[in-house]
Each structure stands twice: as structure tokens, then as C-alpha cells.
Symmetry: C2
Subunit: 337 residues, 2 copies
């Protein structure tokens, strides 16, 4: 009989309940009743998002640690709340646990969850744990609040708006490439390889950057987080806003480790930065009158200007050297099925 | 290439979005952005619950229809919100879809979801669809509202309170027994067998009954829904309230089909009604001064008096014929792992 069987479902839940220390003032009743009860603060709206992570599809237990997995499960959902201009408050987690998964793994996983919850001020307020036939799976639901006047949708971009993205792109996709081909000899410094892998395994949600944008007076017209790949997520904005976009590939922000490893190993930086996905950076559009006066703010959140919204619906173009516009034909961001 | 692959993830989501017609005034932004945005009404609190359903663990595709599965996935969560005295508003659904699952099955499943959403006034406002390696899995999150003065927890039961349960118990457990042993010859009318199977496959959440209780002036001291089995859920109330309970087995409500089938086939009605689970009836405790004056109300919601709360913490007793009290030693309700 394994550890989990000994504990039983309710014993396991009690154990986990004690382990999770992060609290939110919004949670009136947490784990242990039929529902969690939350209180809205003032006139804020509720934001809610959910993400499912499957062993063998979204993560591989041979190269991710339980702790990192717990942190990432929270971070990817915080990224969605951040992309709306919201503040996360409470999470629920459903787990499908195969019988051979060690209890120690689960404890480490919850340690990662708890540490991410503390980092982003979230309380784990409920969930469901079930036995899974074969694969480990995780479903996180994250609740948060948004101010009605400062909630950012995918649908508000207008022709002439400037397109910004925070941080750097492609690190996570390159990190995943490294993880997948561990036996290959890469021409690279260990430190660079570790930076890129960590960007994939333990991404940071841009909550701080989102708070700065939301609390500013910037005229943000649309926002999304880059999870499916820059061009695919930009297309989501274009579709919802009924506009197009022109991107300057020279301006796509890249980290130093990314540049060094991709150059030394002759990898296509465009493939990785345009289609890679899982960057969890914020992609947003800004009214152009507004952008010039706020250089400091944009510097503070490390936002780069990468293009402009155009009036033609659903047309995304790459501005090649010499100014020629090349249409993006087929978006290759990650799709399930 | 199967139908799902042809559609792609986003094509599938668009298709489903069109199919889901049920709407809620609380949902300001539904499917199609990074988060759903909800508005709280007045000073109500939010209630949130989640349930994971796995193929091979919670359901068997050889005996449940896609439509019934969709209905049940919503109903079991509505049951949790009802058990707190809440009203459901919005749902999110995560699906793990194996590649061999026909698109038609998914459409029927969403038809069931939509019909249950309409029945309980819920809007599907978001979710996540991912490819699953082997088994189909469903995770539902249900949001609702509760009035702070009329939110019922597991923790308020006091010695002397009367214990009530709505509807009848054991039908679902017997229905599951029938489904599992389809080849066996049962001494029973077809109509009775169908009634019992339906109670397992398409349970009705007691939302209407919960609304009547919540809007009444009854002094309800605790409430839970019977999902793990009567005795196990009663133990949850006893643990949370630091009390005990005495149950009279003669008063456990049983349906006519349940009585006929269990008698004719010599099945233990006690095993089925005490430990069966998945009844989705409401189990609640009432201040005794209150109970006598509200017979009509209790009749309207088909509530039966089945016992009394006692002062000894965590002690559940069965009152046998002649008045002898027999302790419930080990609770055998459903536990994962």
C-alpha cells in the first residue's frame, strides 16, 4: 500500500490544508466545505480563468521538478489575470493523481504552489483530488478582481495604435528545445542554458508590470499574454479588434542568453520568438498620442515597441529589411489536437 | 485526420461557443478573452466549487451517454452550491480530450451541458480544452452567489438539532450496481430499473429545495449535499460542528422502485442508503423549536426527519430496533486512492 492509500483522500486534503499557508483577505471560507466563499471588495468586478496541465502534454516529469511544476501552474494563470489588468485573489486546484505518484512528490508540488501563492498574494481556497488511471493532471482555477474602468480586453485595438511587449521573447521555446534534447552537445555556457530552461520551467507572470500599467493613466486599448506564441496571440487581438498589424522583426526583444545560444548553434531566432509560445509576457496596444510621454514608465516595465496596428482586418504583416511587407500566412502557434 | 484535428483547438472553441446558448446577467465577458469577467450583484458573496470527473473512475463511456454526462457534470456542482444556500451563475469547463473521441460525442456532451445550464440559469463563461493521452476528463468550476446571512456551512450543528434529508437515498448506488452488472438477470420491472439507472446517470441537483430553505425563515444550522454517502457526509457535519449524531434507520427515505428492486433481489438496503453516495440530496440540521411549525415547508421540499444531533464529538450512532444504539465504526463512503 502506498503512502497516499494509507492517508486516504480526506487525510491527504487535511495534510495539504495545513501545508498551504498563503492567505487572502478576500477568502471568507476556504478548503473544507462544499464551496469556498469569497467577498468582493467595493465595486470591483470578478475575473476568473482556468488552465489544465497534463503530464506528457504540458509537462514531463523527467525534466521538471515537482516544486517548479507547482509554481508554474499558478504563474500561467496569474499571467491570464494580469493580461486583463486584474489582481489575483484565490485559486482552486483539481488534481488527477496516478497511484504510483509518491506522496513526497505531491508535497513538493504543494510547496511550489504555496510559494507562488505567497509571491502573487493568492489563497488556495478549494479543489478536488481524484485518482487518475495513468497520467498526472492539474487543473487550476484562478479568481481575481478588476476595476471596471481599467479592465483590458483583446478587443479594443485601433488602427495607428502602437504594439508593445514586455520582457524578451523566445527564451521559453528555446529552453524547451534544450530540455527535449538533453543529450545533444550545445555550444553554450552552462549559465545561459540554465537561464533558458528556467524561463520555460519557472516562468514569472508579469503581474507587477500589469499593476503598473493598470494604475497608470496610459491609454491601453487591448492586452493579452503571450502564451500561444507572439504572432498567434497578436492574431487573437487582431481578430477580436477587427484590425491588422505590422511587426518589425528587428525590434523583437531577445535576451542575451537567447542571442548567444541561438547564434552559436545556428537556430532560427524568428521561429522561436514568433511562434514559440509560453513566454508569458504582456502584449498590449497603446494610443500613439499617449506613448511618447511615458517612456520612463515603459522602460520601468521593460516594454519594447514592436509594431503598429493597421486598419485591414486580420492581416498581420512582417516588415522586412528595405520596408517590404510580408504577410504572415499560417500561424504556427501551439494548437491542441 | 479526425474531425477534431481538422477543426483545431480554436475552431473547436468557436463551434462550442455558438452551441452554448444559456446566458447569465452576471457574466459581463464570457468565452474568448484571457479571463471571464463577472459582476457581483449587490452585497452578495461569491461561492465557488470545482469537481473533476474522470473516465474509468467517475464515469464509463460504455453505459453513459454524452448528453447525460454533460448534464451530470453541471448538476454535481450545482449540488455543492445548493448545499451552501447559494444560487449558481457561471461555469468554466476544462476538458482533456483523447484523439479518438468523436466530435459528435463532444457536441452531444455540450448539448447536455447547455441543457443543464439552462435548467439552473448558468452561463458557461470559459474553460480550457487540451489533448489527453488516453482518458477523457472533465473539470467543472461553478461560481455562484450567497447571501451572507443565509449561507449554510457544515459547522453550525448543535446538540438537539434535528437532522433532515431531502428526497430518497440509495437510488443512485443501486442504479450504479445495475449498470455495472448489465448481464445479470434482475427480478424487476424495466421501468424500475430505468428509474434507478437514471438517478445515477442524470441526478437532479436540489437547487429548488435549497432556494425554498434559504428564502424561508427556518433556523438551518448546517447543510451539506450527500455525495460521499449519507454517513460519511453526516460525519463531515459532525467533525466541522464538533458534535455527534443518532440516526434512526427506519426513517431513511427510500423510493418505491428502490424498495421493490432491493427486496426482490435480496440486497442490503442499509448498505446502499448509508454508504452508497452520489445521491445529491441535501442533508441539513434544524433548530428543534423551529421544526414543528414548518411541516408544510418540509413536505414541499420532500424532507424527511432521520435523526438528531448529539453532544458527543464525532460519534455517529444507529438507533436499532428496541432503542439500542450501535456505533458507526468505520465509514465506508467513497474515498479516492
Amino acid at each position: 500500500m502506498n503512502d497516499l492509500k494509507k492517508l486516504g483522500e480526506f487525510g491527504f486534503i487535511r495534510k495539504i490544508q495545513k501545508q498551504m499557508k498563503a492567505r487572502s483577505p478576500h477568502v471568507l471560507t476556504g478548503i473544507g466545505d462544499d464551496c469556498a466563499i469569497l467577498s468582493p471588495s467595493g465595486k470591483n468586478q470578478f475575473a476568473v480563468t482556468t488552465d489544465a496541465l497534463l503530464e506528457g502534454v504540458h509537462f514531463n516529469l523527467s525534466w521538471t521538478s515537482a516544486n517548479a511544476l507547482g509554481e508554474k501552474a499558478i504563474a500561467v494563470n496569474v499571467s491570464d489575470i494580469s493580461a486583463m489588468g486584474g489582481k489575483p485573489t484565490a485559486a482552486l486546484i483539481s488534481l488527477g493523481i496516478p497511484s504510483n505518484l509518491p506522496l513526497k512528490f505531491l508535497q513538493q508540488f504543494y510547496k511550489g504552489l504555496d510559494s507562488a501563492c505567497k509571491q502573487y498574494n493568492i489563497e488556495l481556497c478549494g479543489g478536488d483530488t481524484v485518482a487518475s488511471k495513468k497520467h498526472f493532471f492539474i487543473n487550476i482555477v484562478l479568481l481575481g478582481e478588476t476595476n471596471a474602468q481599467r479592465t483590458f480586453y483583446r478587443s479594443g485595438a485601433k488602427a495607428g495604435d502602437l504594439i508593445f511587449v514586455t520582457g524578451t521573447l523566445g527564451d521559453s521555446a528555446l529552453g524547451l528545445k534544450l530540455l527535449k534534447s538533453r543529450r545533444k552537445k550545445w555550444i553554450a555556457k552552462e549559465r545561459d542554458l540554465n537561464f533558458l530552461k528556467k524561463r520555460h520551467l519557472q516562468p514569472t507572470a508579469r503581474l507587477k508590470e500589469s499593476r503598473i500599467l493598470t494604475l497608470s493613466s496610459l491609454k491601453i486599448t487591448s492586452m493579452i499574454d503571450v502564451s500561444d506564441g507572439l504572432l498567434q496571440d497578436l492574431q487573437h487581438i487582431c481578430q477580436s479588434s477587427n484590425v491588422g498589424a505590422i511587426i518589425d522583426p528587428q525590434t523583437i526583444p531577445q535576451s542575451k542568453p537567447f542571442q548567444r545560444v541561438s547564434t552559436a548553434n545556428r537556430l532560427s531566432t524568428r521561429e522561436l520568438t514568433f511562434y514559440g509560445g509560453e513566454d508569458y509576457e504582456l502584449l498590449f496596444t497603446l494610443n500613439p498620442q499617449n506613448a511618447k510621454s511615458v517612456k520612463n514608465l515603459l522602460q520601468e516595465i521593460k516594454a519594447s515597441l514592436i509594431g503598429e496596428i493597421s486598419p485591414t482586418p486580420n492581416s498581420v504583416f512582417i516588415k522586412e529589411k528595405g520596408g517590404k511587407l510580408k504577410p504572415v500566412k499560417k500561424l504556427k502557434g501551439y494548437q491542441h489536437f
